[in-house]
């Protein structure tokens, strides 16, 4: 336990020393929030069922952070740790493999949570963010979405031969997905074609679930999202166990 806590603390420090990951997890979503907040404000709009741009953006950007954490930060960290022999050195210590990996998961989860907290805080302070959901429901959806995408990150890291390809493939999946899933730009403004395609993107389901629960919709209205994300989580964990390599 002492080793786990120490490793977690060190990994948090390392996260903040790596400007790339910290920027996209913490700063970039805030910048988007202030940008679109400045353009559209947060006036209730019939377009978003009586909610404002910021009200629907905070859960959507939260989904974007989840995507960043899973597909970029975690994928790249694991691929780099493997390729450069960082995992190899850790493996020669008494640490259990599950300790090493769960420290990674805990740190990336905490950073994702911090990203969301900053969004909520900025939304509350600057734009009178509305929240009509159940905090526990939103928290549960946040955990589900995060774990599903972290599993996807482990799968990508495991399947890609080098850190470089893991990074490129992570980005190639991530960047189109944030625009086509409604996480960066609401799907309401997208043409019908994009909206039907979006249903096949895993991140869309995180967006839909978080946005729905945020305004107080019931879980029963989101069984599809829950099933898709649970399936992603289970398959992701199984495949990443199969494809995990120490070196």
């Amino acid at each position: 336990m002492r080793a786990f806590l120490k490793l977690t603390r060190v990994e948090i420090k390392l996260f903040f020393r790596e400007p790339y990951g910290a920027f996209f997890t913490l700063a970039f979503p805030l910048m988007l929030l202030f940008l679109f907040g400045a353009i559209y404000g947060n006036e209730p709009s019939p377009y978003f069922g009586g909610y404002g741009t910021v009200d629907v953006s905070v859960p959507a950007y939260t989904a974007m952070i989840i995507g960043t954490s899973g597909l970029l930060t975690l994928t790249i960290t694991m691929a780099v740790y493997r390729e450069f022999g960082i995992l190899r050195r850790l493996r020669a210590t008494p640490l259990r493999p599950q300790t090493i990996l769960s420290a990674q998961v805990v740190v990336i989860f905490l950073m994702t949570l911090l990203g969301m907290a900053l969004l909520v805080l900025a939304g509350k302070l600057v734009y009178h963010l509305r929240f009509d959901g159940n905090p526990l429901s939103v928290a549960a959806a946040f955990v589900l979405g995060s774990l599903s995408f972290f599993a996807l990150g482990f799968v990508l890291a495991g399947l890609m031969p080098t850190a470089r390809t893991a990074q490129v493939v992570g980005m190639v999946i991530f960047y189109p997905m944030i625009f086509l899933s409604g996480s960066a730009i609401p799907l309401e403004v997208m043409p019908e074609g994009v909206r039907s395609f979006a249903r096949f993107l895993p991140l869309t389901h995180v967006v839909t679930l978080l946005r729905g629960l945020w305004i107080g919709e019931a879980w029963s209205q989101h069984t599809t999202e829950v099933i898709v994300l649970l399936a992603l989580l289970v398959v992701g964990v199984l495949v990443s166990i199969k494809t995990f390599r120490w070196e």
Binding site: L14, Y81, I86, R88, A92
Partner: protein, 310 residues
Amino acid sequence: MNQVVQVEKLRKTYGATVAVDEVSFEVREGEIFGMVGPNGAGKTTTIECVEGLRRPERGTVRVLGLDPTRQERALRPLLGVQLQQANLPEHLKVWEALDLYASFYPHPVDWKGLIEQLGLAEKRDAAFHKLSGGQKQRLFIALALVNDPQLVFLDELTTGLDPQARHAIWDLMRDVRQRGKTIVLTTHFMEEAERLCDRVAILDHGRIVALDTPANLIQGLGIESRIVFSVEGGRTPEGLADLPSVTRVENLGDRIVVYGRTNGQNGHAPLVAEVVNALTSRGVRFDDLRTEQPSLEDVFLTLTGQAMRD
């Protein structure tokens, strides 16, 4: 004396390549045991099988009485490991690395002392990627010692270190041995093996071709000592080849090389005394005379037919 490592008929292949075959040896408590050989000889594969990082294909390995692959958890805290290829996260600082790795073990040493001993005090707050190759190497040696291990494995101990740092590391390793620890190392520096190791295994093409103390290895092969000097005019003085200890004489133009086998045994004067006496009694004026003792490098050349640096 207790055997801390026992390896019997170890075999490991990678695809069609046989990395190690029929390798058997044991390491005694409190000794520095070295494995030398060229790149690809099987040193790293052997040491990583013993460390429990690779699974042997055939053969048995026992470390401190345990099976390193099946009883890894019991064994890990007792071992210190420096790997040939490893890294730390690039933004991790020197002190953080030691503090972190110390937290993995039940009875770590005070890592502040290790930082001093390995000459890293000035780099205490430096990030890993800012360190030079030699500084990284020293940090990994420190990490291998941070748990106060009973048995230390060092793969390519002083690669990348300058001569001064190398001597400091050798002294440190002798200290570690003094405290009753056992050290297993690989090196491709013959001088390192000769000066540091109590016993040396020479590996070539995945097999052990010789194993003994450096002195026994050198004597056992009966490799000749050499006396090298220059004479005016470069003509080989007469009669040298007839001296009792001398086996042959070579003229390399400006230098004369006299080969001989004895070091004063069998009632003969030492080779150098015989040669110098003969030269002075004949009134030959010579210069730049030095003697070259056979080294482990010569043993290696003789056994494998190739130079170490190939």
